[in-house]
């Protein structure tokens, strides 16, 4: 592992923290200075329950109360709340429709991967099938962006008093912080609340350290995945765009637990579908950090190759 005391534009993505917490190790190794802020919106109504984190870090953290702020905004501004619910409903419908096409597209790819006809013919058909999946993902991303954009224009989000006040308070708070930690949890809730408060702009340039869902939202594409759900595997789904502080990455927290790593076809398709982004497996204790797009440090993180195997992360840089 390498580490440098260089925090400008620092972004660190960590795996889950359930068994062994490695946040403090990352904070120290990366030479983060100043007070730490924390976003725990993914914990929903357990937000702010940061006792274990404070114990682990050995220092106080400033809770940015992102979840609670949005709750307060919604309580004050019912029109905005209704518009937000409407947008969420549209997004859910979009996701269901996307899933129909995704399932069929992915199924075609897996069938082609198993064909034994002339290799060149199969390869070109597979390439075309994956290209269709990639086009579907791009289309879905545009649809999502359109829904967000229409919502924000319709409600003139940035100009609404409750939103404006909280954004101003957050800007003030962030000015006093050395870095911001983003905890895991419910990734859709986390992403939605960050978006509503305009955190992409507010966090620009701030050193960020996020784990699990917190790592996912730092990328530009939030991809949901789980191979071991009770109802069986679902094809990984693009769900939203993130803060884009770690672009060209698909963060896969708890990959060893959530993915069936023996299914090379599944992994290979994921790698090819999301390329040139790297699909990054982040397990317990794993982390990876960049500063201004330069790889600073890594521990344990692995990327999925086009073959479906896993490779040490230094190949990502």
């Amino acid at each position: 592992m390498t580490a440098q005391n260089q925090t400008s534009g620092l972004v660190a993505l960590l795996g889950p923290q359930s068994q062994t917490a490695s946040v403090a190790m990352a904070v120290n190794a990366l030479g983060v200075e100043g007070n730490l802020g924390v976003i725990t919106a993914g914990w929903r109504d357990a937000e702010g329950d940061t006792g274990a984190l404070v114990d682990h870090l050995g220092s106080e953290v400033t809770d940015l109360a992102v979840y609670d702020r949005v709750e307060k905004i919604f309580a004050l501004d019912r029109e905005l709340f209704r518009a937000h619910r409407k947008r969420q409903d549209v997004l859910k419908q979009l996701q269901r429709l996307y899933r129909v096409r995704l399932r069929a597209g992915a199924d075609a790819c897996y069938r082609l991967m198993k064909r034994s006809e002339d290799a060149d013919l199969v390869r070109s058909q597979l390439r075309a099938a994956i290209s269709q999946l990639r086009a579907l993902d791009r289309f879905h991303a545009r649809q999502i962006a359109k829904v967000h954009s229409e919502f924000e224009d319709e409600v003139t989000l940035a100009e609404r008093p409750a939103v404006r006040d909280h954004r101003a308070e957050l800007a003030d708070l962030l000015g006093k912080l050395g870095a911001v930690l983003i905890a895991g949890g419910h990734v859709a809730v986390l992403a939605s609340r960050l978006r509503l408060l305009g955190m992409r702009e507010l966090l620009a340039g701030h050193p960020l350290i996020g784990w699990s869902a917190g790592a996912m939202v730092m990328t530009d594409r939030l991809v949901l995945f789980h191979d071991r759900a009770p109802q069986g595997r679902r094809e990984p789904e693009l769900m939203d765009v993130g803060l884009a502080r770690a672009p060209r990455l698909v963060a896969l927290p708890a990959a060893s637990q959530r993915l069936d790593l023996a299914q090379k076809d599944h992994l290979a398709l994921m790698a090819r579908r999301f390329a040139p982004a790297s699909c990054l497996a982040l397990d317990e204790n794993d982390w990876i950090a960049w500063s201004n797009e330069r790889l600073l440090a890594t521990r344990g993180a692995r990327r999925i190759r086009r073959s479906g195997s896993l490779a040490e992360v230094h190949a990502v840089a």
Binding site: P16, G184, G185, M216, L224, H226, Q231
Partner: protein, 378 residues
């Protein structure tokens, strides 16, 4: 016969120490792929394997191994089978049903316990076992003053770990709730599945009937009790989500009949049903050939089959292929599907018992109420 047992007997009757060593070292029944050898040890005139596999002879005779107190029979059991059994021992003209003292696996039910044979590739699901990491839900009790039954009915309420009055929860009402708790480890299952985010935190109401063969057999009083007395009280006293898709009703055997009947009589009350090994006996013509307890069941199921309506929109059904009810359950699936109900149907190599129903709870409950697993990355 299992190879090891054959080896033991190769040179004739082994001495008692060799038998003792053999018993200590082996596990019983002896499973070698699909061949399962059941072994009884004891003095007897005749020994039979009594099991509850519909389609096989109920009593299979064991053969005495010459010169020993060992008896054995080998049957073929397909992969992933799980069966319950006892030995019927006849000695000096007396018959007794005994559990297999060589087998530590027991399944309990309201009538006692049976020995359990785990066929090859059957494994008890780990989510049915106590997990120290899972937080426990809490129980409270509610009394429903039932006009339909002319007296109070006690209902136990499971509140999930981290329960908060300020939240809204889905509701699951369970027939034979106490039997599910005692014999299907329902509390452990709920705690584990909620902890693993495979189902959302939910409120579970556990009902029990003092006369289930009557009240669960298509009894209008019971349907009204569930939908017009219990449900309104639950909704008024507990933070339950308003919409019907957050409400499910479930049961096994006659409890499944009661579930379907209550939902059928009150469409829109429950959007989701979980039906395990439903006693859905019916007749296409003439009489049914089951006991008199099934008379009202057959009446109801016949009416239901004529006019299913839409008692719910999403239904999970399961049945063991070793049950006599497999035909009735299979018959129900296309009927429900033809009436725009979304059905997930599961068949397993098990019989009419509480551990079969336990092993299906993960798929069933998570099908009706998917948890946030897909969205949560801790």
């Amino acid at each position: 016969m299992h190879e090891k047992l054959r080896n033991l007997m190769r040179k004739g009757a082994p001495d008692p120490r060799a038998i003792e060593k053999f018993i200590e070292e082996e596990s019983f029944p002896m499973v070698a792929g699909p061949d399962v050898t059941f072994v009884y040890r004891g003095e007897a005139d005749e020994v039979y394997l009594r099991h509850w596999i519909f389609g096989l002879r109920t009593a299979q005779p064991l053969q005495r191994l010459a010169g020993t107190e060992l008896w054995a029979v080998t049957i073929e059991l397909p992969a992933e089978s799980r069966i319950e059994y006892k030995y019927e021992v006849i000695k000096d003209g007396n018959r007794s049903l005994e559990m297999d003292t060589l087998n530590p696996f027991l399944a309990r039910d309201p009538f006692g316990a049976n020995s359990v044979c785990r066929g090859y590739r059957y494994q008890r699901p780990e989510w049915t076992l106590h997990d120290p990491k899972s937080r426990h839900g809490q129980f409270s009790r509610m009394t429903v003053d039932s006009a339909r039954f002319g007296g109070p009915r006690e209902v136990d309420i499971y509140l999930p770990a981290r329960y908060r009055d300020s939240r809204r929860y889905p509701l699951l009402i369970v027939h034979d709730g106490h039997d599910y708790l005692h014999y299907s480890d329902l509390r452990i299952v709920l705690d584990n599945l909620i902890h693993r985010l495979e189902i959302p935190p939910m409120i579970v109401a556990l009902t029990t009937s003092p006369d289930r063969l009557v009240e669960y057999a298509g009894d209008e009083r019971h349907a009204d009790f569930i939908c017009k007395e219990l449900l309104p009280q639950l909704l008024s006293e507990l933070p339950i989500s308003d919409e019907p898709q957050s409400r499910a009703l479930m049961g096994a055997s006659f409890g499944a009949v009661a579930t379907l009947h209550a939902a059928w009589r009150n469409p829109g009350c429950f959007d989701r049903l979980l039906l395990q090994s439903g006693s859905f006996a019916f007749s296409d013509i003439g009489d049914h050939n089951r006991s008199a307890a099934f008379d009202p069941v057959v009446q109801f199921v016949n009416k239901f089959r004529e006019n299913p309506g839409q008692p719910a929109r999403k239904i999970y059904m399961s049945c063991g292929v070793y049950e006599s009810l497999i035909y009735e359950n299979r018959s129900m699936v296309p009927l429900l599907q033809a009436h725009d109900m979304q059905v997930r149907y599961e068949e397993v190599r098990d019989a009419h018992n509480w551990e079969n129903w336990r092993d299906r709870l993960r798929l069933g409950i998570s099908w009706l109420f998917p948890g946030p697993l897909w969205m949560v990355y801790e």
